[in-house]
């Protein structure tokens, strides 16, 4: 293993977390990410036994999840595998597909709160219909001039992938919006 020390997207040795009332925002540095795109004429694989979701969807099987990013394209998440060569592992699971490493292309913030708080937060951040954004949904959209992926993992858990280089601005935007909510 390399003797270089990685830093988190927010620029620290350890991932950051913040609690605002009952709402928490946690930087998850351990989640690996790789893109998967079908080639022309090829069928859809089931990497790690994961059924690839349709448009706007997120699907989960054990430690691996997938969300749809475009026609014939997905992002695959893998818990705790950020330090592995996850893209190569995925490539082996999806022969004949185009795979690219994305773990460090993005930074993910896991947000947990009550349903009402989570939806109130979404209303302030992104132009998506919060109450229709049910668990299992994933969308890319704009947030304060940034491009983000949003995943509703459960009723009370939301993941937000921001471009790694803009992680600080994304975190600021989420935190500022959260602090203006009534979440005592």
């Amino acid at each position: 293993m390399t003797d270089l020390s990685p830093i988190s997207a927010l620029g620290h040795a350890v991932p950051q977390a913040v609690r605002i009332g009952t709402l928490t925002i946690t930087e998850n540095a351990g989640l690996a990410l790789a893109s998967l795109a079908l080639r022309q004429g090829g069928g859809a694989p089931q990497p790690f036994g994961l059924p690839l979701p349709g448009p706007g969807g997120w699907a989960n099987a054990g430690a691996t999840s997938a969300f749809w990013t475009g026609p014939g394209a997905w992002m695959i998440e893998a818990d705790g595998r950020a330090e592995d060569d996850f893209a190569s592992a995925l490539k082996a699971e999806a022969p004949g597909c185009s795979v690219a490493e994305q773990t460090d292309g993005w930074a993910v913030f896991e947000i947990a709160a009550s349903v009402a708080t989570l939806e109130a937060l979404l209303e302030k951040l992104v132009n998506i219909d919060a109450s229709r954004f049910v668990p299992g949904s994933a969308l890319r959209t704009g947030l304060e001039h940034m491009s983000v992926f949003l995943i509703r993992r459960t009723e009370g858990q939301l993941a937000l992938w921001a471009m790694r280089s803009a992680a600080g601005s994304a975190f600021h935007a989420i935190e500022a919006a959260a602090r203006r909510l009534d979440v005592a």
Binding site: G56, T69, G70, P71, A73, N127, R140, T141, G142, S147
Partner: protein, 93 residues
Amino acid sequence: MLIPHPLLGPRDAQEFTYLGDASLLNRPDGMAEGALAAFCDYVYLRDNPAGVHRELWFHEQGDRSWLVVTRNTVTHEILGAELARDVALRRQK
């Protein structure tokens, strides 16, 4: 505006980047006879209708699909949208 994305349903137009007339799908063959004249038309001339217009939008803050949107330029009413790739493939056939 709301763009009726064929896969994702209505999405806010702010997620999209606009290019222009869908005639840009009809790129002439650069190796053909008379290519220069054909390209001058293709690159520069537009019908620019006041009314129904087929146009290209890119879902940049979304699924990165190019769409052909049919929209009325007087009322802004949107009459339909489809994946530009499907339109282009159909054209090639």
